[in-house]
Amino acid sequence: MSVELTIPKLGMTMKEAKITQWAKAEGEWVQKGEVILVIETEKITFEVEAPADGYLHILASPGKTLPVGARVGLLLEEREAYEAAAGAGKGPSQPSPPVEPPPPPAPGGELAVKASERTERRRVRASPLARKIARDHGIELGSIQGTGPGGRIVRADVLRALEEIQAAPQVPASEMEPPPAEMPAREGVRSVIPLEGMRKRIFTHMHQSLQETAQMTLTCEVDATQLVRLRESLLRRYEKEDLRITYNDILVRILARSLLVHPEINASVEGDQIVQWEGIHIGVAMELEDGLIVPVVRDADRLSIVQIHHRLQDLFQRARQKRLLLDEIKGGTFTLTNLGHLGIDAFTPILNRPESGILGVGRIVKRPVVIPGPEDRVEIRSCMTLSLTVDHRIIDGAPAARFLRTVAACIEEPLLLVE
């Protein structure tokens, strides 16, 4: 098995990065989590960790500037596979030419090149204290805007970023518990939990959402038999790669496709304007030990189900380690929340502001269903309930219903996805 190494996207605006150096040699055995590669953007220098164990095969040499997502190397689990891959190329450290753009012309000769290299090689400027706090919380310094002298990242900047991550749009579904009033130690009280940190953010965010918008929830039952079949076939298809495609992966794809057809749902209120967004960025609510977080799959309409799967797995894993970048929890345009695994059918999701739509997904359950025809018959089908909440200030009942029908149609007949 091989794992591709690509240029990671470290921020919303990042388009390309330069390979500063490989921290491991061609053919070296590396372990997952070890720093394998150092890249730099205009803003930061970033250490890329090995996503898996394997023999390193380098495809792009230091000094090259490559777009985000470009393949720069492979990690091969077997020595034979490595030798095959390395042999297929022109030699170990020989980069494959098509991947790399030619080096930019150097008008001032060698000296000028060196000078520009030096300015590009800017490290993240941060105070020692800021570095320690960031390291402790797994926050990537490159994702933080510095406000110190010369844009230096200082303590206050890291604390703000930390707060924003904790304040990340929180979810919907769960009913809000009234806050425990000030409770002096008294009989009958088992414990008093202070309203702070993530809970406080959820508390405020949810309450504000209900106060500031006109939320309406529509529900409908859909026949998910085909969806179940699609998932089963995907499970079989990727069994060898050990990819367990989830319903959420497929549903994000379905939602992205449906939003493409109904741009009026992919919108927010900004001041006295309704803004319809070009990008389709779908947040997926996930439960954490101490609350909820909604990592966002950006440009979900341009990703395949497998790509969405990889993206979500990565986001979920890092969310659990509290290592998400700010970019990854902000800027969503629609949210998916799934309580099916907890045996829930329908519920009333709360909008994840400033988004205007959120789809709640219930469990898939087998029911007798009447199949209409000349002679109606009853069949056992897999059914699922969808609960769509929209902001009625800008989305009326009929357009909301039409959007929900589009989603339902894709679930009932996932072949529509290839439409």
Binding site: S127, P128, K132, I133
Partner: protein, 460 residues
């Protein structure tokens, strides 16, 4: 009609006002400054500058009086009062001229007259009205005479008097133990006066770390100063051989006979200002300002002693720079917690940030370490081992919360800690950076290491 002829009007030509005026000029503003007395303010004319000039000599005098211990033979050592006064006066004169030249070369207009603030855009001086877009108030402070039964305030001497005295009283009482009082008391002591320091609180240096205060109090007592705490002056009775000071103490009433009583506490100088418009409720607490140094009156900023708080020249000029920038559209704030404090006593005391008790009150879990100068080679060479460096850091990240130094040149050595805190260095960086040997600075490294539990030169 001329309206808003100046971009910035500055009232007061002390450290804060001058810094504001020059900074505003650098930013291209037209600036006019009003000063009723001398440029340079209290610090330059009647405070830090002349005081330190005398203190430097007094300190050397005291050192040379112990010449034998240092391996020197000195005879005929005596104070030449007229030369000493000339040294001090020349310095003040020189710096005053320098300040005037500074304003001139920067193109700041200045008016030698007292000014009143008539409104957010109007300043009146010498019967003329000046239209200004923004205002920086840097009116400084004035002596706040104490009310003591049995003696008129005119009979109480201040630091102003002390600066001109060429004959020391035989016995003196100093009321209070702030920076100026301590410096006065020690100057008197070094120049041969018997000094009793009277403090109402439980200890001297109430704003400072307890350990720091204890070390300085110990040194002062060893030098021969009488330090009385928890005492209140009830009455002063005049007798043939001087002033009888009646004190109330926890152990009953006590008396001291002295020739002179000194006092130096100051209050914000707010004369000529619209106190209602500036929302001044308690004159002793000064003009209220927000973190951008903006007063409640739109477009009017205030800096330095006039805003209450710690009355330090370096604080006033730091505020002046920021106020000028903000008055011209900037958004700079001043973190008061990073302004260092100084006591030019001997041993000197200097500190920045929180003391141990304050840090605990703020809920920090602490790493604290104190390294005494009794194990510092340089201090030993100088026979000046009264002192220590204390580092207060937060346990979690080693964040530097405060550094406190007692000892020779503490006021110079503290700068390293000020910079470290400004750059958000942690106790680890303080411990890692290599310092010269043999120096006093090494104790800061060792204190940082000890705060991390790995001091090298500490006996276990």
């Amino acid at each position: 009609m001329l309206s808003e002829q100046w971009d910035l009007g500055v009232i007061g030509g002390g450290a804060g006002g001058v810094a504001a005026a020059v900074r505003a000029r650098q930013l291209g503003a037209r600036v006019i400054l009003f000063e009723a007395e001398y440029l340079g303010g209290v610090c330059m004319n009647r405070g830090c500058i002349p005081t330190q000039s005398l203190m430097e000599t007094a300190r050397l005098y005291r050192t040379l009086s112990r010449a034998e211990q240092l391996g020197l033979k000195v005879s005929g050592l005596a104070v030449d009062w007229s030369a000493l006064m000339a040294k001090k006066d020349d310095l003040v004169q020189y710096l005053r001229m320098g300040t005037e030249a500074l304003l001139r070369s920067n193109g700041v207009e200045w008016v030698h007259a007292s000014a009143t603030l008539e409104g957010p855009h109007r300043i009146r001086a010498q019967g003329r009205e000046y239209q200004v877009r923004r205002v920086v108030l840097a009116t400084g402070s004035r002596w706040a005479p104490p009310a003591v039964e049995g003696i008129e305030s005119e009979e109480i001497l201040t630091s102003d008097h002390l600066l001109e005295m060429t004959e020391m009283p035989a016995r003196a009482a100093v009321l209070g133990s702030g920076p100026v009082e301590l410096e006065m008391a020690q100057y008197l002591l070094f120049m041969g006066c018997r000094v009793t320091l009277l403090e109402e609180g439980g200890r001297i240096l109430q704003e400072e770390d307890r350990e720091v205060a204890r070390r300085l109090a110990g040194a002062l007592k060893e030098q021969g100063m009488e330090v009385l705490t928890r005492v209140r002056v009830m009455e002063v009775r005049k007798s043939e051989d001087g002033l009888e000071v009646h004190l109330e103490s926890p152990g009953g009433s006590i008396q001291r006979k002295v020739d002179r009583i000194f006092h130096a506490r100051r209050a914000p100088q707010l004369h000529g200002l619209d106190l209602r418009g500036l929302k001044v409720t308690e004159p002793n607490r000064g003009i209220p300002v927000d973190e951008r140094l903006q007063t409640p009156m739109e477009g009017v900023f205030a800096v330095g002693d006039a805003t209450g708080g710690a009355m330090y020249s370096h604080r006033a000029s730091a505020m002046g720079l920021r106020a000028a920038e903000n008055a011209l559209g900037g958004n700079r704030t001043l973190d008061e917690s990073k302004i260092p404090r100084a006591y030019f006593t001997w041993p000197e005391v200097a500190s920045v940030g929180l003391n141990e008790r304050q840090a605990k009150q703020k809920g920090h879990r602490l790493r604290v370490a104190t390294i005494p100068y009794s194990i510092n080679a340089r201090a030993m060479m100088q026979l000046e081992t009264d002192g220590a460096v204390k580092v207060v850091a937060d346990e979690q990240y080693g964040e530097l919360l405060g550094v406190h130094i007692v000892g020779p040149y503490a006021t110079e050595l503290i700068s390293e800690a000020v910079l470290a805190m400004e750059l958000e260095a942690t106790v680890e960086e303080l411990a890692e950076a290599v310092r010269l040997h043999p120096t006093l600075s090494e104790s800061q490294v060792e204190a940082a290491r000890e705060a991390l539990g790995r001091g090298i030169y500490v006996l276990r």
